[in-house]
Structures are given as structure tokens and as C-alpha cells.
């Protein structure tokens, strides 16, 4: 039988509903595992032991009394530490906010609690979701569970690490330029950036009003769908929140792909940004699997990937600078160096540049909509290569590891899944993007491919066993490497 910590949400939920698994025992097992392993992985900034045990006991009592609330009841969920939690510090992984205690939960957090989810911890992030895997912050950066010398990517680093390592079953991430999908790719899990506006942003530390998305990160696409079922809810207090009919995100799970039209954005990885051969080989295997399942697969053409990067970067940096300008002037020393430099760079964008980038966003979104009339989803790799060493500053080297920003610019749903492994045993990744508010189709394709490629049976267990034998990773020891 699968160990408790490696059950999926769907599996654990079925056992809990049937009263064959105690939420209290489940949460106790996860808390013990975090305490044993996280000294090496650094995924948790705060373990919520006492509140989690109290919530688990409450969930158990409700379920025993016949009050099962749904698939998240009694399930351990972690939160990237940019999601506000009432009475519990929410730091953005920054010294600037190390004593910040919100009065209210983020809207999405309240939805999770209402569904009976047990919040087990506040998770590591790049500083304010922009800073990089930095070593000059109050807490060390999270480490990749497949090899602790590697970067998990970010900014939802702790969320991806915790899910992959079996330290929680699902986690919340946020994604302004790929911050859910990048770490999902390098840690080998499923991460969904939903359609812009489908999930409320209220109570999440903002980075870019026009591009911020919240989303679920889980071991499988199916589990992401179970979380979406709870999270996709109109929030009248978020001006970007979409008021759309409730979707059934599990509707297509387990069904075939006959008749599905898939577009491959080949120029992204063949000419726009050179990509690792193993990643391309995994994509070609995925294409064969899609055809075997009845889909038609053809190339499609969009604007060069760099066009999206330019527009997304200009918008995100301008808005992030506007949000942080006060603190950058008043207390710049409280930021880590990477976040401070990335935020200050927003000062280089004029108002006219910003408006023109927003106009170009409209053009790029219209162009994609035209292409999406001919296909149901488009695919391409999430990451150009498997995980790279931690501490390597991709901004300084000019290396952009991910094909993510395009779908923040267009607001379309985009899911990263694990579609294979490198010869060195690291996860490879595929991204599936769909039409706005057709997140369920994206999840359906993701689930079908995960099953066809057989990637969900392999966990980073051996790397974790090795890590457990090592001395704890401290900031000082990292600097001496």
C-alpha cells in the first residue's frame, strides 16, 4: 500500500469519506514527516502544528457524525507565505514583513477552511514572489527534493517542494510570470495557473495587479481539479474576480481525448529559445501519446516567445515598483539584494512604456484567441531544461529557463505536468494551455497524459533518503560550498 504521505488527495479523500483513514492520524503523520525532513528541504517557514491538529480533530468529529464536507475535508494543505492567514504571520519570506500578522484570511484560504482542509504550514517563497532563491533573507531558500543541491525554482518554491516530498498533499501558489508552473516543473508535480480572475487575489501579497494569479499545486492534475472545485468562486471584493458559472473541474477526468485538437507551439522551443534534447524528446513522446488517445496534433504559430516576455516583464516590473516604492525608499535595507534590484528596475519603465505594453497585451491576447479557434489546447515544454544548481542567478546570466510568461500575459489557463525524467533522474515538464475559463479541459488533458506517461508512480524518495543522512543545510554551509 502507498505510504500515507504519498497518497494523492483523491485517494486519501476516498479513504477518509469511507472512514478508513483518520484525519488526525493523517495530519500527525504529515507533521512528523515535516519535522524529520524539512531541516534539509527548507520548504516550511512556519509549521502550524497545534492549529492543524485541532482542525484535524474537528474534521474527524464532523466526518464520524456524518458531516463530510467534500474531497478536501481533513486533507493537509500548505500555503505559500504570501497568502494572508488571520492571526498567523504572513511574511512574503522577507525581513520587511517578518512581524506582519494579518487580521483576515485571504479569500481563497477561507474557502479552503470552509471545505474542511487542514492548513499545515506557511511555505517558502522567493522574497515577495520576485526575489530568487536567496541566501540573505531571514529564512534559507527551499531546496529541490530530487537533489538538494538543485534549485526548486520559484517563486512558489516551498509549495512545490512540500508537495513533491510528501510534506503536504496540496499547496497554494501564486503566478505572475510562471511562479506556479516553474517550480512545479522542476519539482515534478502538477501546477495550474487558472484563467485570470477565476480565483480571487484578495488577501494575497500583490506583485502585479494585472498579472497575479493564484492556483493549486498538487501531485496530480486530478488533485488540482479537486482544489479548483473549492477555490473557483466569485469574490465581489476583488475587482478582477470573474463572475462565471461554476465549472465542474473533474468532469473530464478519466475520459479519453478523442476529437481533441492540440496545437504544438514548436517555434517556442525550436527557434525562439533553444531547449534541452531530453525535454524535446519527452514532448515528442507526449505528442505520440495524445495521438494514441484520439487527439489530432498539429503545429501552430504565435508571436515569438520574447514578445510575451517583454510585455509581461514591463507590466509586472512597473506594477511591482508601484507597490513597493514606499518601502524601497524608506527601508531598502530590509529587502534581500535580488528582490531589491529586481523591484528597483521597475523605475526604468515610464508611464508611456507601461501603457504601450498594456496595448501590446491586448494585441497578443487577440492573436492567441484567433489561434485557439482552431485548436482546443496548445502544448510546449514548461522548462527548457531540468533543475539547475541552487544559487545560480538566471537574471545575471541572462538564462531564462521557462516558457511561462506568455499565458500570464493572455490570462489563459496553463498547467504544468511531469511528462518524463532525464537520464539523471530529474523531472521533465510539459505545459498545456487552453481557452479562458476552459481550465477543466486543460486538467483533463493533463490527467490523461500523466496516466499515459506513467510519471505519477515515481517520487523523490531516494533523494530524500540521502538527504536525511546528511548534516542539516545551513546558510553558512551553503556559502562555503
Amino acid at each position: 500500500m502507498t505510504e500515507l504521505h504519498f497518497l494523492t488527495i483523491a485517494q486519501a479523500s476516498a479513504l477518509i469519506r469511507a472512514k478508513k483513514l483518520s484525519p488526525v492520524e493523517l495530519i500527525e503523520a504529515f507533521l512528523a514527516r515535516v519535522k524529520r525532513l524539512d531541516v534539509r528541504l527548507n520548504s516550511h517557514l512556519l509549521l502550524l502544528e497545534e492549529p492543524a491538529l485541532a482542525d484535524a480533530a474537528r474534521a474527524e468529529a464532523e466526518i464520524v457524525a456524518g458531516g463530510w464536507r467534500g474531497p478536501l475535508h481533513g486533507i493537509p494543505i500548505g500555503l505559500k507565505d504570501v497568502f494572508n492567514t488571520a492571526g498567523i504571520r504572513t511574511t512574503g519570506h522577507s525581513a520587511l514583513f517578518k512581524d506582519h500578522i494579518p487580521a483576515e484570511d485571504a479569500f481563497t484560504v477561507s474557502l479552503l477552511r470552509n471545505a474542511g482542509a487542514v492548513i499545515t504550514g506557511k511555505l517558502a517563497t522567493w522574497e515577495f514572489a520576485i526575489g530568487g532563491s536567496s541566501f540573505d533573507l531571514p529564512w534559507p531558500p527551499a531546496r529541490n527534493p530530487w537533489d538538494v543541491s538543485l534549485d526548486p525554482s520559484g517563486s512558489s518554491s516551498g509549495s512545490a517542494v512540500a508537495v513533491a516530498a510528501g510534506l503536504c498533499m496540496g499547496a497554494m501558489g501564486s503566478d505572475t510570470g510562471g511562479s506556479i508552473r516553474g517550480p512545479a516543473a522542476w519539482c515534478g508535480i502538477a501546477g495550474l495557473k487558472p484563467t485570470y480572475g477565476l480565483l480571487s487575489r484578495r488577501g494575497i501579497l500583490p506583485l502585479s495587479f494585472a498579472l497575479d494569479h493564484a492556483g493549486p499545486m498538487c501531485w496530480t492534475s486530478e488533485d488540482c481539479g479537486l482544489m479548483m472545485q473549492v477555490l473557483a468562486c466569485h469574490d465581489p471584493c476583488d475587482s478582477a474576480s470573474a463572475s462565471v458559472a461554476a465549472a465542474d473541474f473533474a468532469a473530464g477526468i478519466g475520459f479519453g481525448l478523442s476529437g481533441l485538437r492540440v496545437g504544438v507551439v514548436r517555434h517556442f522551443f525550436e527557434t525562439d529559445l533553444l531547449t534541452d534534447p531530453e525535454t524535446i524528446a519527452a514532448l515528442e513522446t507526449s505528442v505520440l501519446a495524445l495521438r494514441d488517445m484520439g487527439a489530432t496534433v498539429d503545429p501552430v504559430r504565435l508571436s515569438p516567445f520574447g514578445a510575451y516576455t517583454d510585455v509581461g516583464s514591463l507590466i509586472a516590473r512597473s506594477e511591482a515598483y508601484a507597490i513597493h516604492q514606499h518601502w524601497l525608499r524608506a527601508t531598502p535595507e530590509l529587502y534581500g539584494a535580488v528582490a531589491r534590484h529586481r523591484l528597483m528596475a521597475g523605475a526604468f519603465v515610464s508611464a508611456a512604456d507601461y501603457i504601450n505594453a498594456l496595448r501590446e497585451r491586448t494585441r497578443l491576447t487577440a492573436e492567441l484567441a484567433e489561434v485557439m479557434e482552431t485548436v482546443d489546447v496548445v502544448i510546449f515544454p514548461t522548462a527548457r531544461c531540468p533543475a539547475r544548481p541552487i544559487g545560480e542567478d538566471s537574471m545575471a546570466s541572462g538564462f531564462q529557463p521557462f516558457f511561462n510568461r506568455a499565458f500570464n500575459v493572455t490570462g489563459s489557463p496553463a498547467l504544468s505536468i511531469c511528462n518524463g525524467f532525464s537520464q539523471t533522474g530529474l523531472p521533465l515538464s510539459l505545459q498545456i494551455a487552453g481557452r479562458p475559463f476552459e481550465d477543466a479541459i486543460v486538467l483533463q488533458v493533463g490527467h490523461a497524459l500523466e496516466r499515459a506517461m506513467g510519471t505519477r508512480t515515481r517520487r523523490p524518495a531516494s533523494a530524500l533518503a540521502t538527504a536525511a543522512k546528511r548534516l542539516p543545510w545551513g546558510i553558512a554551509s551553503l556559502r562555503s560550498q
Binding site: 475587482s239 523605475a347 526604468f348 512604456d353 498594456l358 496595448r359 494585441r363
Partner: protein
């Protein structure tokens, strides 16, 4: 860049950020990358072309 250092200095002055010389130097290395992004993202458009964010008078 012909106007690089002057334009950069003027922009920094406008921000009011308290920067050390070392911090200015790091930012100046990124400045050409941003100007290049701006140049690429400013395709010719009609004057009427709307940006993606417009004012909503009744957001609720």
C-alpha cells in the same frame, strides 16, 4: 547608448531611491535590457488602440 548614463541618472533622481554607488552600478547594467524591452514592446498601433486595463466605473 548615447543617452544612457544621463537618462539613467535622471530616472533614478526622479525615483528618490536612496541608492549606494554599488547599487546604482548594478541597476545600470540592467538598464539597457529594459530599454531594449521597451523598444521591442512598442509596436506601431493606432491612437485608438485600448490598453488591456480600462477603468470600470462600477467594479461591484
Amino acid at each position: 547608448m548615447a543617452d544612457g548614463l544621463d537618462a539613467f541618472g535622471m530616472m533614478l533622481d526622479q525615483t528618490g531611491l536612496p541608492l549606494t554607488e554599488a547599487q546604482k552600478s548594478v541597476l545600470f547594467t540592467a538598464y539597457p535590457m529594459f530599454r531594449a524591452m521597451v523598444a521591442r514592446a512598442t509596436a506601431p498601433m493606432s491612437r485608438e488602440a485600448e490598453p488591456s486595463v480600462i477603468f470600470v466605473p462600477d467594479p461591484r
